[in-house]
């Protein structure tokens, strides 16, 4: 049992230790102790706000900690108290005052049709429409870092899908500065907050060829899938709702690089699309959704216009990462667009009786 005096001493020692770490990692202190909270502008453009809402689902830190203790969110269409001219002025003033300091989180596509008339964040105080393209070009050169959250801002996503009625493009297509792409439809809160944390503490993270942080987008779903053994053994779901490999009902896991199978969605790591017996639809991919659809068609069967070239490109990327023989068969088919006879045989479900079900534990027979 601690005496009160011992307890106080212990508490003070702990504080001293924390201060030591503050000295060692001054950036951490700045970012997380509230001495100087990093300024953030969250710019929603052509979006469903799903990426904002998904980010608000963050577990640790949670959105309360983030909003009240970690960052100064000067502009956010969904959060801010101000509206109208007051909101627009807050945006303009923050951009000037925090120039070179603020982190720009961009959500949504930038529509270019009719001089950007298809998407606006509001009106200027002088009455002109404040278009998305004008807003992103105004803010990008002043930001310390630019983070594109969600597949729309990163690559175009659903709103840029053919025939792209609004002429939407990704953020990196219209700004000269480096954009860190954190895709996902929606983005997983861990990917968004994790990337933000990396920017705050260590600067720009390692990026892949599509400027996605490799810490989240470096694993191929297919390689880490808990149902991989079902794929290898040829146990395939014929319909959604079957607890088997979802490859034949359209899983895009073999060409999708992200950590869903291990990270899972969200908070308490509840599930992810394959665990829900549905196909991964490749929502973090640069050609989502056009290159990833029909969602229920398995890879070599896809015949949407324009898909072939992009899938080839992804397929070649995949090749560098894998060596497994079955995966190589798959890749060959993805890359050439042909489906070999031996491959069709391989995907045919075998009689389940002869498959060793890896989920069963030793001694199960005796219990029954």
């Amino acid at each position: 049992m601690l005496t009160r005096r011992q307890f106080i001493r212990l508490a003070m020692t702990t504080t001293a230790a924390l201060q030591l770490s503050d000295m060692l990692i001054p950036h951490l202190a700045e970012a997380f102790t509230g001495k100087k909270k990093p300024p953030v502008i969250w710019l929603e453009m052509m979006t469903c706000t799903g990426d904002y809402l998904s980010t608000a689902n963050t577990l640790h830190p949670n959105m309360r900690q983030l909003l009240f203790d970690t960052i100064d969110l000067y502009y956010s269409n969904t959060t801010m108290a101000a509206e109208g001219e007051m909101a627009i002025r807050a945006l303009l003033e923050t951009a000037e005052r925090e120039k070179g300091e603020f982190i720009l989180i961009a959500e949504g596509t930038v529509p270019l049709k009719n001089n950007g008339q298809y998407g606006a964040i509001g009106y200027h105080p002088d009455g002109r429409l404040f278009t998305d393209i004008e807003a992103i070009r105004f803010l990008a050169p002043k930001a310390k870092y630019i983070m594109a959250v969600g597949t729309c801002a990163s690559f175009g996503g659903p709103y840029a899908a053919r025939p792209n009625p609004s002429g939407s493009v990704a953020v990196h297509k219209v700004v000269d500065q480096q954009v860190v792409n954190v895709p996902g439809c929606p983005v997983h809160p861990d990917w968004a907050i994790g990337t933000l944390t990396h920017l705050l503490l260590y600067g720009v993270p390692n990026l892949d060829a599509f400027n996605r942080p490799t810490v989240f987008f470096g694993k191929r779903i297919h390689d880490w899938c808990p149902r991989r053994q079902h794929f290898d053994n040829g146990i395939f779901a014929e319909q959604p709702g079957e607890e088997k490999c979802t490859y034949k009902i359209g899983c895009k896991g073999p060409v999708t690089f992200v950590d869903c199978p291990t990270r899972q969605w969200i908070g308490d790591h509840n599930s992810w699309p394959v665990e829900a017996n549905s196909p991964c639809i490749g929502c973090v991919n640069p050609d989502f959704p056009d290159g990833m659809s029909p969602f229920y068609a398995h890879l070599p069967d896809m015949n949407v216009s324009g898909v072939r070239a992009s899938t080839d490109k992804l397929g070649l990327g995949v090749a560098a990462f894998t060596a497994g023989s079955i995966a190589t068969h798959l890749l060959a088919n993805v890359a050439t667009g042909r489906l070999g006879k031996h491959w069709i045989d391989g995907t045919r479900p075998r009689t389940e009786g002869i498959i060793r079900d890896i989920r069963k534990h030793a001694g199960d027979d005796k219990k029954q």
């Binding site: 959060t79 801010m80 108290a81 001219e85 007051m86 959604p240 709702g241 599930s271 394959v274 665990e275």
Partner: protein
């Protein structure tokens, strides 16, 4: 003296919205509501596999994605006469119910209360209007405490969607043919545990908070009445009783109830940025964007029922079911939404118990190579949502969506009749023109979602163009 006030953007909603009002003698005398972004979702759907529509239309809206998944799946099932298993009905109700709780909790705390409660003196709560905050210091602290807590609770509701739906927003469970996840004891208990926590928050925080708000802003029971026209689609299907819903269809206008008929819906585009056209039934709509059209001021069309503008949402659902008929006003809309959250949370406990372990969740179906039509709908979080689809084999020929927000954010129609929010704003007193906080109170009480309201479009026009080539 007459003066115009423009609020653009109206923040703390989903999407981008512009409101202009005319103020005479301290009272709003006219109003204009306009959506200021446009994506063309229905055009994007053309030519795609009808089974993709559920996942794609979810992407219209991040806050009510499950409602679009339900309406879209239902439209495909209607066209192909697919009967989904009882488990699928229950799992859809549960996932959609969880998303509805998410919407209602976030609408109250994240989007609404800053119109009534003075937030902390830090961004994003400053700058703010300095006007008419009526709560005492301890009451304000209590609200901000609930605000801080709601982030955790809202995450739990989305976690409930992921338990069966795989992810959230834009879940995977609800799809044409039924549902994909199997109800198993581990998932059921997890869902139930989270539901209990959310239910506690609704009972212990949300309801007392809204009651306090209603006491302090009692005059808002007399502000923002609007037309008093209410429209509701059937919401939460009853398992094993096709065509029946927990919350029934209904039309309420001029103080009378009427029987609802989809055939009486027309969409007007006279003051919208679309090619001029006569009002059309959504299943036969034909419009193309015309961003330079004179006299137009919105990307939202103007849906009318039997020629009249209607509002929709929780107050309409509860009016038809008989659970709430106190009155129609800004505060009634807010109260009804909270009450709906409470009712749905209670219903969800029942649905969880009705799940049948080991029974099917998905009904396999064929897609014959002939042209078929279907209609799917949902009461959604915000009210009447419907999807009209026509397809042949694995190709969508026509897709049309009329969202709840289009009903109440709509601009004027061909007769110059104002949309429901425009009408509700008329008569609202503005105490201080420099701090017109009253506008947002009336407008946000509808729970507008411009992400849903703005989209197009018919595909016939495009077919015609292709024919010319």
């Amino acid at each position: 003296m007459s003066q115009k006030i423009r609020i653009s953007p109206v923040t703390r909603i989903n999407g981008f919205w512009n409101i202009e009002v005319q103020v005479d003698g301290g009272v709003i005398t006219d109003a204009w509501s306009s959506g200021i972004f446009f994506r063309g979702f229905e055009e994007i759907l053309k030519g795609r596999d009808p089974r993709d529509a559920a996942y794609l239309t979810e992407r219209i809206c991040g806050i009510c994605s499950t409602a679009h998944a339900i309406a879209s799946s239902m439209a495909i099932e209607d066209a192909l006469k697919v009967k989904i298993p009882k488990n699928a009905v229950l799992l859809r109700n549960l996932s959609f119910g969880a998303d509805l709780l998410q919407n209602h909790i976030r609408h109250f705390y994240l989007l609404s209360i800053l119109d009534f409660v003075r937030g902390p003196d830090m961004p994003p709560f400053i700058p703010r209007y300095e006007s008419d905050y009526r709560l005492s210091r301890p009451e304000t602290d209590r609200f901000i405490d609930s605000y801080r807590q709601h982030f955790e609770v809202a995450r739990l509701t989305h976690e409930m969607v992921t338990v069966f739906g795989g992810k959230a927003p834009h879940q995977h469970g609800i799809t044409a043919g039924g549902f994909t996840s199997l109800p198993t004891a581990d998932k059921i208990q997890k869902f139930m545990g989270m539901l209990d926590l959310v239910g506690e928050f609704i009972n212990d925080k949300l309801i007392p908070d809204v009651e306090l708000l209603a006491r302090r802003y009692e005059d808002y029971y007399r502000i923002g009445r609007g037309y008093g026209n209410l429209l509701a689609y059937g919401n939460f299907a009853l398992a094993g009783r096709p065509g029946e819903f927990v919350m029934p269809f209904g039309v309420y206008s001029g103080g009378k109830f009427e029987k609802f008929d989809f055939a009486k819906i027309r969409e007007h585009v006279h003051r919208s940025w679309f090619m001029q056209d006569q009002p059309r039934y959504p299943g036969e709509g034909s419009t193309e964007p015309a961003p330079d059209k004179e006299d137009a001021y919105s990307w939202v069309k103007a849906p009318r029922y039997d020629g009249k503008p209607f509002e929709t949402g929780p107050i309409s659902h509860l009016w038809m079911s008989g659970d709430y008929r106190r009155g129609i006003s800004t505060m009634d809309r807010i109260m009804a939404r909270v009450l709906e959250a409470k009712i749905v949370a209670d219903l969800m406990r029942q649905w969880l118990k009705e799940l049948q372990i080991g029974q099917p969740v998905f009904q396999p179906f064929e897609m014959p190579d002939r042209e078929v039509e279907g209609l799917g709908f949902s009461g959604a979080m915000r009210g009447a949502l419907a999807h009209w689809v026509r397809f042949k084999g694995k190709r969508i020929l026509h897709y049309q969506i009329v969202t709840p927000s289009a009903w109440y954010c709509s601009p004027r129609d061909m007769h110059g009749i104002r949309g429901p929010i425009e009408e509700a704003l008329v008569g609202t007193p503005i105490a201080d023109r420099a701090n017109p906080i009253e506008i947002g109170r009336v407008a946000r009480a509808f729970d507008p979602c411009l992400a849903c309201a703005v989209h197009l479009i018919d595909l016939k026009g495009k077919n015609r163009a292709a024919g010319r080539v």
